[in-house]
Amino acid sequence: MHLFNELTNYQQPSEEGYYGQYGGAYIPEMLYSNVETLKNQYLQIMDDPAFKAEVAALLKDYVGRPTPLFYAERLSAEIGAKIYLKREDLCHTGAHKINNTIGQIILAQRLGKKKIIAETGAGQHGVATATVCALKGMECVVYMGEKDIERQAPNVARMKMLGAKVVPAVSGSKTLKDATNEAIRAWINEPDTTHYIIGSVVGPHPYPDMVARFQSVISAEMRTQLEEVTGSPLPTHVVACVGGGSNAAGAFYHYLNEPTVELVAVEAAGHGVHSGMSAATTQLGSTGILHGSKSIVMQTKDGQVVEPHSISAGLDYPGIGPLHAFLYASKRGTFMSATDEAALKWAFHLSEIEGIIPALETAHAFAVLPEMNLKPTDVVIVCLSGRGDKDLATYMQAMDLK
């Protein structure tokens, strides 16, 4: 299987990490040395046959890949199109995040690093990082917004059980944005021995490209699996939720240069795109710099980053990866959004008609299906990025209100 495929335009940022006008590495000099080392070595390391074999073996035997491509019969009948679910929720630890952490932990070992730091929103990336650190015997510190620590208690407990130290980010909005700031600062203070595992396709170059490549296993498998079932590797649509955009990048990756495949990214509209309580970055944002790259950022007219809102901690982010900003600006991607309410409704609906309880983040992707004007001949793959166990408290609250 071609894990790290040959690259063409949409998959290949420029030497300086730009997708069109988005990307780059807007970092203080204190991070230059680390980021430069990573930039000079990541492609070479990822291309090494021994590295590929080690990653592939762990993805198979530890993560449980390939994850199934499941034909959702009742959902298909209801929507009026053929809907397949890429079951990333069946990955070890319950989400796609581990595809990236497996790759980065082995890469960190090759770089001679002893300690791992990470940021997390919903806690899925934190758990995936803590897991691979336990597996490889590396010290692990996870930065998490104080507010997210409260709303994602089970994942906090999991990280601690896996031996990670969870440090609350108390600055700003106390969510993912601030956890990322804290993680970057921690990296600045300890650059020699530490590797920072960013969980999404954000951050300074080469992170967006590197994370997209590690996640690209999702669409590599989709192609093979869909071809086995339908005779063609190409669906008509791929749908994924987008916060920073890692599961979407992975699900889109091997279709980026297939113009017949419509790539649908679903952002979190919160209480409604224009409610003032939203995280729909492409709809509300403008070109700006956040966490080391130029992208689309939710900000005031004075260039201060604003606090987003989403019911799902994983989508509660005021930026979007530079690849996605480019997909939006170039119109290669179709950007839609789903409200908190619609996501909650679809979390219950999917549970009821397919027997799968999705993560709140993932539920956003399903919520747009009825609005896509799909035809019976359409073949749609929805990236089921994570399972809903971590959101049970929110789901239980919703059931009480029903």
Binding site: E16, G24, A25, Y26, I27, P28, E29, M30, L31, Y32, S33, S171, G172, K177, N181, I184, R185, I188, N189, P191, S286, T287, G288, I289, L290, H291, G292, V297, Q299, K301, D302, G303, Q304, V305
Partner: protein
Amino acid sequence: MSRLTELFEQKNKRVLNVYCTAGYPQLNSTLEVMGSLQKNGADIIELGMPYSDPLADGEVIQSSSLVALNNGMTIDTLFDQLATMRTSIYIPVVLMGYMNPILQYGFENFCIKAKSLGVDGLILPDMPLYEFEQIYGKIIQDNGLDFIFLVTPETPETRLRKLDALSSGFLYAVSSSATTGTDKDFSKVAVYLERLKSMQLKNPFLVGFGIKDKASFDAVNIFANGAIIGSAYIQALSKGNNVETTTKTFLERVLSN
């Protein structure tokens, strides 16, 4: 000749650059703080433009930025406050900030306005060298502003020489790879500063990050042309009731013999 160049021609030892956050502690404290710094012995004022996500700054400066933002500080407001700056402030003033707010303001307009108000230079820690060479360096230069790059102990020599060549006014030597406001072991820093001194750079260099009192100021001045104090002064301001008294006490201690 720029005010910075002129300063270093007259004084190339123990130059003291003090950082303060615009709009802190009160929205209208900016000029009062700058005046106090000048009066009590600062040679350069580094005026921070508050940003919501200041990656290179530690807790102390970030919280002062948050206070300033909550006070209502913006680039427009700051420029209004600085309109009369040069009637009372005669020492060099450099603006420190992050790229995003300046890009939203308009980079060229920002440089034009800053220059017209008597600002001497810019420190933008997240300005990439690549973007500086491609786009921004020329705009800064065309507007007669100095630009000060940061260098660290990990900056490779060829890069360091390039950053020195592209900087003017002075070079900002970060004492070690760390955010602002972290404590340092200055015996280790000395090796790095000695190396910097032996490189015969084009620019004088000031050491920043971890300079907080007389001892640390004296320690780095063995090799450097001076130092930058930030977090320690902000902390003093946060505890003091009166800007002038606080500044006088703080700088007297740092500069005492």
